[in-house]
């Protein structure tokens, strides 16, 4: 850890001292670099590329800083840098949709930041004016602080019901920006909750149950809401809401489990976050490319790989992650464990839907213009993400010497990923998927238009946001 407290703000310190933050940094960094690489191609013809790069890099810096932060102020600096610069990304295209989504994003981001600010102040004060995590670990929490943290960080993480901005903002941003928004930036909320709500605190036991259910509802809700959408990027965004629900469940499990098993949940958390980052990032990139370029067979295979990975088909990183989740849930002997199958089913449905919509978009594109092939500068990053996802899932089967360069947290993921290779686990992963296909067909057949109408029911969000704006900015 680098101590900067005599140079920068009080208590300033940077470093990657825990396995969780090392793992988190690794996948965040990877996704960011690949997304930036992708932007080289995608923003080539952008007249406002300078602005784009400025905000991208600011977000990047903020995201890394908040992971590296060893003290409250550094975290807050990184967090707010990332949040506010994110507005620039959402607003980038300048269309009407982008403007209203940007407004909503900014409104909620500012509220979230202020809630986080007050939570941090209360915490720092309770810790007697010390700002570093080490000293905060043993300072008891209180309900007010916990709720402020959950709300403040939750608004960033975007789980239900704090997700309102997410499905609006992510689709309007440029593809690479959506990729990092969904893949890396919203995870800062979960990361923050892990940092500020140490599992050892007795009060969290009371909260754990509720948060677990919240995560579950979020997982189901996100997947179902995705079904009602028509645009691929919006489906992806709702799927993020659903996935954040899973992450939230893992986090709350880490509070609930006995200390010996807490590390299990944490490892699963990092693994799941990394899996989602890679898969969702890649899918956003692909969705962006799909609207402009013709997909070759290889590209379609890539797309299929990530979709099945996200649907947790056996042998993918998704399967590993889901198994880890089930393990952790089982260890707690929760009745909710069986409900996970319901979640898997919903996810699978949503992904079916995504695939159909992407295909439709691709067809529409091809019918209109003679679109060119996807450039390698865009395909390359996606490919590398696929490699990363494979590495993540198979690191357990690799010989120890090969995985020695991986950070600590990921190697302990080994046991979990190995457990995903048992027959029972494979079957458990497969049957919801098999069920999903006919269900999806039936749903589309008999309730397609109803779902479509349901999907339009989100106008109230913008309406409220506009009302709010009129309140502080009268005509």
């Amino acid at each position: 850890m680098i101590d900067l407290s005599h140079l920068l703000w009080p208590g300033a310190g940077l470093g990657f001292t825990s396995a969780v933050s090392q793992g988190w940094l690794l996948f965040t960094l990877l996704l960011w670099l690949l997304a930036l690489l992708y932007s080289l191609s995608s923003q080539q013809q952008d007249p406002r590329a300078g602005r784009y790069w400025l905000f991208m890099l600011l977000c990047f810096a903020g995201n890394v800083l908040l992971i590296a932060a060893q003290d409250a102020l550094s975290f807050y600096l990184g967090f707010s840098m990332m949040s506010l610069a994110g507005t620039g990304l959402v607003l980038h295209s300048g269309t009407k949709q982008a403007r209203r989504a940007g407004r909503l994003y900014l409104q909620l981001a500012v509220i979230g930041e202020l809630l986080l600010f007050s939570a941090l102040v209360l915490r720092a004060s309770a810790a007697g004016g010390l700002y570093d995590w080490q000293s905060w670990q043993n300072v008891p929490l209180d309900h007010l602080t916990i709720s402020l943290f959950v709300l403040g960080l939750g608004l960033k993480a975007g789980f239900f019901p704090l997700h309102l901005w997410l499905p609006q903002a992510h689709p309007v941003a440029p593809a690479a920006a959506s990729a990092v928004l969904s893949g890396a930036m919203i995870k800062a909320g979960i990361f923050g909750m892990w940092l500020f709500l140490p599992a050892t605190d007795p009060l969290l036991q009371q909260w754990g149950q509720g948060v677990l259910w919240l995560g579950f509802v979020s997982a189901i809700f996100g997947a179902l809401a995705a079904l009602c959408q028509q645009k691929s990027k919006q489906i992806l965004a709702y799927s993020s809401v659903s996935q954040m629900g899973y992450l939230l469940m893992l986090l709350s499990l880490s509070w609930l489990l006995p200390p010996a098993q807490q590390s299990l949940a944490l490892i699963a958390l990092v693994g799941y976050a990394a899996h989602h980052a890679f898969a969702k990032g890649a899918l956003f990139l692909l969705a962006g490319s799909a609207s402009r370029y013709r997909f070759g067979t290889g590209d379609q295979l890539l797309l299929g790989f990530f979709i099945v990975s996200l649907a947790a088909l056996p042998f993918t990183s998704g399967a590993m992650a889901k198994t880890a989740l089930k393990q952790a849930t089982a260890a707690f002997a929760l009745p909710a464990a069986n409900l996970l199958y319901l979640g898997a089913l919903c996810t699978a449905l949503a992904l079916c839907h995504l695939l159909m919509r992407l295909k439709a978009e691709q067809l529409a594109l091809l019918s209109q213009t003679s679109a060119s092939n996807m450039p390698w500068l865009q395909r390359g990053p996606v490919l590398l993400l696929a490699v990363a996802a494979v590495l993540l899932s198979w690191s357990g089967v690799m010989p120890a010497s090969a995985s020695v360069w991986l950070p600590l947290g990921i190697t302990s993921y080994t046991s979990l990923s190995l457990q995903a290779l048992t027959a029972a686990a494979i079957w458990a992963a497969i049957w919801p998927l098999l069920m999903a296909l006919p269900t999806y067909y039936l749903l589309q057949r008999f309730a397609g238009s109803w779902l479509l109408q349901l999907g339009r029911r989100q106008r109230w969000v913008f309406f409220t946001s506009l009302k709010l704006k009129r309140l502080y900015q009268p005509l």
Partner: protein, 503 residues
Amino acid sequence: MQAWLLDYLPLLIVLSSLLPGLLIFTLKEQQVALRTFLNLLGVTLKLVLVFLMWQGVKEGESYYYRIAFLPGADLILQADALSLLFVVLSSVLWLATTIYAIGYLEHSPLRSRFFGYFSLCVSATVGLALAGNLVTFLLFYELLTLATFPLVVHRGTPQSLAAGRRYLAYTLSGGLLLMLGVSLLHLLAGSPDFTPGGYLAPLLASGSILLQVAFALLIAGLGVKAALFPLHGWLPQAMVAPAPVSALLHAVAVVKAGAFGIVRVVYDVFGVEVVRALDLAWPLLFLAAFTILFGSWRALAQQDLKKRLAYSTISQVSYITLGVALLGPLAAVGALVHLVHQGVMKITLFFCAGNYAETLGIHKIRELNGVGRQMPMTSLAFTIGALGMIGIPPAAGFISKWYLGLGAAEVAQPWVILVFVLSGLLNACYFLPVVYRIWFGVQYSAWPSPQRLSSRFETHWMLLAPSMFTLGLILLMGLFASTELSPLSWSELIVEREFSFDD
């Protein structure tokens, strides 16, 4: 430096702007070079002297200069850590504002008069900072009113005259209340030097009503300049003054004089213990909290950029009062550091507003659409300043807000944090749309009255350089808050000295 010269240091610091100011009055309008020279000479001289004093005070030396004045109440100029905070702030910002004003008023009439009063204004501010007892403080407080009035009415238009009348009505009444309070305290306890921990504790036993009356009078008198809620009416109107004046009024001279006075009264006259014993902090606390929200609320409705900034000042200055009224050491650090940070941030914002007005003729917020392309540097400064006001790191405003929040939690008043949160929210509501317009808005009509002030920069370099300078300060103060040079460290030093009396 010679020892005898050191004794005169406080006086010299006041004179270093007063004498050039008086000389400037006698200059003819055309003597631009000489006037500029005198101005810059004064600024440089003052900065050098202040630097010397800063070094001394850091080592624990004290400077003391006394002239006979009223019976039992000499005119005392002295330098402690607290006064130096304000002295440094005003001299550094005077440098920026002088350069800005020279650029801003190029080719406009009556510049000798303007710069003369400008220097007087800074002298009064510095004198007020160095004042060693209440009577001296009162003297400079009134002089400040007189020195700023001609600046407010400088344009001589009907609006500025109306603003000037209102300004006088408020500030002279405030001065009167202050005088009543000071005379009452003088009768009760004499007018000893400001003492950390106050000097009124022995009087507690012999009745508290008069002390409470005195406190109310003092705070009401100071509250006028600090723009506390019912006494804030002069400030938005005073916006008709030229931009450098608004910058100076809002950032350093006038509003800060009030806030600084409140700090002095609470810490060095009454003392935290007495304030607590007399239950005086509560009304002040509520008033400040209300002012914070009220100012922000009113700022929302303003469509004129400078007016919006003015209401924002009302809100932001009350942070200082609030911090003081919390009576805790951490809150005190927050209040003191906000005194500096708010000054630098607000002066930046006013510089930028002036740049927009001078270069493109923009006064209304809706005219700002897309100005970020035309004037990127100014807009950057404005953005950072605005973010600082909301309290977003790494701008300096975050540090002060953080300490104020900690201070509130420390004295178990978590509702105050809610006030900060709401105010931050309102700040965001009235600043971020402006920032949005600047960078993302689409320009829909030609600029109101564009002027080509420079071939190399977006505007005249004398307008740009000060805003860049203060922009740098905002970021440096926010980022390097722990370094020895930072206002935060200095405020901690002050609080250490102010609060250590009872150990």
